[in-house]
Symmetry: none
Amino acid sequence: MFRCAEIIAVGTELLLGNIANTNAREISEALAGIGIDVDYHTVVGDNPARLASAVEIARHRADLLLFTGGLGPTYDDLTKQTVCSAFGIPLVFHPEIQEEIRQYVEAVFHHAPSDCNRQQAFLPEGCTIFHNPVGTAPGCGFTDGGVTVIMLPGVPSECRYLLRHSVLPFLQTGSREVIVSRNIRVFGLGEPTVQEKLLTLMNDSVNPSLAPYAKTGEVLLRLTAKAPDAAVGKAMMRPMLQSVRDTLGEFVYGVDVASLEEAVFHLLAERNLTFSAAESCTGGLVAKRITDLPGASGVFKGGVVSYTNEVKNRVLGVPAALLERCGAVSDEVARAMAQGVRQLTASDLAISVTGVAGPDSDDRGNPVGTVFVGLDTPTGTYVRSLLLGGGREIIRTVSAHHAFDMLRRYLTGATIE
Amino acid sequence: MFRCAEIIAVGTELLLGNIANTNAREISEALAGIGIDVDYHTVVGDNPARLASAVEIARHRADLLLFTGGLGPTYDDLTKQTVCSAFGIPLVFHPEIQEEIRQYVEAVFHHAPSDCNRQQAFLPEGCTIFHNPVGTAPGCGFTDGGVTVIMLPGVPSECRYLLRHSVLPFLQTGSREVIVSRNIRVFGLGEPTVQEKLLTLMNDSVNPSLAPYAKTGEVLLRLTAKAPDAAVGKAMMRPMLQSVRDTLGEFVYGVDVASLEEAVFHLLAERNLTFSAAESCTGGLVAKRITDLPGASGVFKGGVVSYTNEVKNRVLGVPAALLERCGAVSDEVARAMAQGVRQLTASDLAISVTGVAGPDSDDRGNPVGTVFVGLDTPTGTYVRSLLLGGGREIIRTVSAHHAFDMLRRYLTGATIE
């Protein structure tokens, strides 16, 4: 097992403040999940001398160094050269990697790779190659003199992909203890409330341990055990998981699911039901989130983004008189939108969202954050009335959370409104 | 003027990956704006020994050190103690600061401050105090042995407030240079191609400088100048900006815009035109992206997420015979979807996306990444046929890019298909 890790992000754009170092956050979270302590993050520009000096410092204070960035095809991508030169390891050309890059570039860009891509096929001698099917830069890992080095591309989607698919398996090889986690997902209670309710549970146990993490509009509880193997770890966590379920009840929307939409996806698939969505202020976010999941077409028929009153009327059949009388942001219109889209798409269930995402209040004086979320079912229509805070993006995200939560509660027989 | 800066964020929550280091991004951006180069970011936990070692390293490689975090009232907030001890500067109690903290806590939390808040009124001897009206932790700055030290609270809103209101004025006393940037956005050419075309331009000029950054499916070129003021900097960049435009032509979709959808938004708003979207494989992503922008209702009427053939037929009016004959993923259906949604929503223009996002090929054997993007206009219908790589998320993202790009090209009179 490693003593401690350091994450070194390479890229002048980070030092100019163009982007935040989200790779370091994601890598840290993943390492925490397998019990590796991260002692430092370092960010350094595309500058070989300063990068070399950062490598020197890091290799003496950590035994796992994870680099992101600087693996691209351009002249300022110098991570491999600089790190390998610090460790005295030559770079070796891999024709099979060049071929992978060629196929990727041709498929995505419909032209042959440039000469520059050739440098991406050079990798440290004897390293484990992390093949990259979502970009051109392969990652790699090697151990030298008691220090393990991992290099990952800086593009966040590529970094994330290789982290999950290559780095975590690479790091866990050979370790004698495993860390197993269960992610308990909670919607409808704030983090302070969750913490209050679970305080004794959190303070009284070290292994397994329970810790809360606030996400946008929801709470993630991570239950973690160190154990000789995964089955033992899971068994150790079972009583605590049950206590959390008993304490939080129907606010727990799932265990080891990634999101509310994934929980809804499974519930619908099990029951062989479909839904549709009529969206105003969320503007397609509900549809986008359910269709992020492969196989969504089995449970989601589609939807209407009715961003204007005209579309609410023409496509969803919301009566013009109702829009006039109650305004688009109203309980009544949320109800009519859900009913309209359910009928239009002939789906079993339907949700609707209409509200004021901001930055300005609407022409009826509804304040920013006023949102109505509707659910139409064969046995009745439900509407949740909300006043959300946090600005446009958060209002849209949390509104979509509520839409999925209403579906989930309907499907599990919990209180809906 | 400073030689270079290092930003040191203190907080175990950063190393656990609970939050990204957005303070470092904001501070870097602000420093770039006043011409100060940032050479390193460091993140270290709430651990005095490791923080002390980070201070030792930083004071020898930078002459401006900015700390954030660890100024709170709790036992693990140790930044002031650790940094002052490294510089051999005593902490001095300020009763007037204690009084400010008392007033703030009583006004916001409706109770008296705790004893712990008392430690926040201790500040380095002889420092400039940065009064904090938006929280309890004051910031401070001092210079010792040629190194300037700034300490700011870690709460992002407090850090940001003190940065703007206290730190920038404190640092600019006596400064003579600013850094200005222009962001040139390119779609339709890969990073290596862009680089090849602009190599001479990139290598031949240091101030202004030009550097490429790959984003998902597009390229960002950043043009940067150091100058006595912003107007001079902008003038210095003008010839190079023109050369880039001349070289890349209609692949440049905007300068200083954040995204393709923002470019489209402005083009539509200027021309007072509206559009709508019929989405299959992107599942609402096009609609979601345009409605991310405040004011989208002026240019976007709405759309239909037609995730099943049934919805394509019932809602968009795509003939069942056409779906049967050509399959949902076809040039013909893309065409009919765009025409259908344009008519349904009575919008000026309409786009459509139908394709195979994966993970599996469709029932007609179309491989993953096969996508047809349609554009219907008063003067004709256009379809782009694509074979994209990179997995479900990237295929969806890049498909949406193409939809916006076709709109943009139509609106600017460029080649569309």
